[in-house]
């Protein structure tokens, strides 16, 4: 049986925070080796991924294709650094393999391919995730499966029309086993959000989704929102995550908001030290 299975007892917040911390540590090491990598995004989404993979999702790390698994659809393929760090902590891939992130012929690409174990969707073309998640939720429901579908998407992806096509259909079909986690980190390719998307939560509500808006870097809020998304009440669930790019590393948190965060080669030691200090 899968080790993580939507527990009913009190969430182990310290344990989840420790997982998120370890994932951040992996990410820094990966980005350092490469000299780049979407480290801002990865650090920002770490808490949500830790809550998903170590508290909410049902899956079997030894058998990532287990038919009864909950699906986690990472719509933003460029966030792969966070997914690989999560998979390593979850035991889906060996921790050692993280060293191959972004290397030629590695399974741990800069942008996700679904040939890597645990990856449900090819990312990279933004605006694909939510629609595919809708299809998965329809298919699982048709099979009478209790499995749910969790879909991460970004604030930039809210500018893709396909995201709203999918949002409409999810509520039309009453997909109450579908949970969208919208990473509102305030950045996109050209810098801070270039097209006004607010109010994000109200938009999802207007599209018929049960919606909450939380601090996506506060583990207690993330876990509470995931628990709140469990009821099968005929409506899809949206969790609007307000996250800070670079979260956990002071220098990166306060650096200019950029899609590619700038890190000088001699800065990595300092960043690693900041991460450890912040975690305490």
């Amino acid at each position: 049986m899968p080790p993580v299975n939507q527990p009913l007892d009190a969430p182990p917040l310290a344990f989840l925070a420790e997982k998120a911390h370890r994932m951040r540590r992996h990410m820094l090491a990966m980005a350092r080796r490469l000299g780049q990598g979407y480290i801002g995004q990865g650090l920002g989404i770490a808490d949500a991924l830790a809550a998903l993979y170590f508290y909410e999702l049902r899956y079997d790390p030894a058998d990532p294709r287990w038919a009864g698994r909950d699906r986690f659809v990472l719509s933003t393929g460029h966030y792969s650094i966070a997914l690989w760090a999560t998979f390593a902590e979850a035991g889906i891939i060996p921790v050692d393999e993280l060293a191959s992130y972004g290397a030629d012929d590695s399974r741990l690409e800069m942008s996700t391919l679904d040939t890597t174990p645990g990856v449900e969707m090819i990312g990279g073309s933004l605006g694909h995730g939510l629609g595919q998640a809708v299809g998965m939720a329809l298919g699982l429901r048709l099979d009478g499966s209790p499995a749910r579908v969790f879909c991460e998407l970004s604030d930039g992806e809210l500018q893709e029309g396909s995201t709203w096509e999918a949002a409409m259909s999810a509520s039309h079909f009453g997909l109450d086993g579908l949970v969208a986690l919208i990473d509102c980190n305030g950045i996109q390719a050209d810098g801070t959000i270039v097209l006004k998307m607010e109010p994000v939560a109200d938009k999802f509500r207007a599209f018929g989704w049960d919606t909450v808006e939380i601090d996506g870097n506060a583990m207690d809020q993330v876990v509470a929102a995931l628990r709140g998304a469990r009821p099968r009440n005929g409506k899809p669930k949206a969790i609007v995550l307000r996250t800070i790019p670079g979260k956990g590393v002071k220098t990166l948190e306060t650096r200019e908001r950029a899609h590619f965060v700038r890190v000088d080669p001699d800065e990595w030691d300092k960043l690693a030290a900041e991460l450890e200090t912040a975690h305490g």
Binding site: I122, H128, L130, G131, Q132, G135, E165, M168
Partner: protein, 326 residues
Amino acid sequence: MAERGRTLAMGEQEAVAGTAIEAPFGRALAALGRTRPEVVGVTADLGKYTDIHPFRDAFPDRYFNVGMAEQNLIAVGAGLAKTGKIAYCTTYGVFATRRAYDFIAIACAHSRAAVKIVAGLPGLTTGYGGTHQAIEDLALAAMIPGLTVIDPCDATEIMQATAAIADVDGPVYMRLQRAQVPVVLDAQRYRFAVGKAALLRDGADVAIVATGIMTPRAIEAAGALAAAGVSAAVLHMPTIKPFDRDAVASLAARTRAVVTAENHVMRGGLASLVAEALFDAGVARRLERIGIPDQFVECGSVPHLQKKYGLTTDAIVAAAKRSLGA
């Protein structure tokens, strides 16, 4: 003055001469659905107009109408496929290829998902003009790695292909003819196979290589040519990708000239594939091409447009004669 034709309303149809079958795709899909519980139907507000209603009526819980949202149509189909379903997604060819191309490429083809895109209004089978006539869809579809592309010629083939593409490992783009669809091939004798050409008539002088609705016209043309003393073979190419290059090259090698006939622009479709196959096989033959010119086509009645742009039996006959220097 002769009465002028007119653009028909969407869903209206010119009278069909000879035997026809109503909604062959939908019938075949409903039949398939009875033995294959994993088959589902998805459409984008064009269920009626893509003949999927027999499947909807038989399996309402396995039918999803996502509304007029073609990117989502393909994305949802891909998601369904990832839960083990075989998703038949229907819309018009123009909207599938032009609007949802990225989703077909990545969510279906790159992901090897069992999404079967069934595409209405191929080429000049509608008078609704350039927005509705899928004149370059075969080229667009065939350009995507791992996408199988089918252009069936009649009701018999549509019914057989509808079932056959379920067994293709990965996505398929198949052109549709809807409502009353002529029966040309004998359902008892003909066997559609993905990736295989069908030599419908042998001949020694000229090879007519045709696909889709041009194949029945090629058969008629071969008959007319025979009466004029020209021996014409008809090679039907229902599968555009993977393309049966050997069948084309070997037939061309034993005839003196080649004519291609397609309901599609002449670049990137059948004519280009035939030229490439001949070149690669080192078979140099004169090649005459029948197809839609490199332009958008106006509105009008279908027979008028087909005649104006040369998608006719007469045009094939003339091309065959030209190809032989007659």
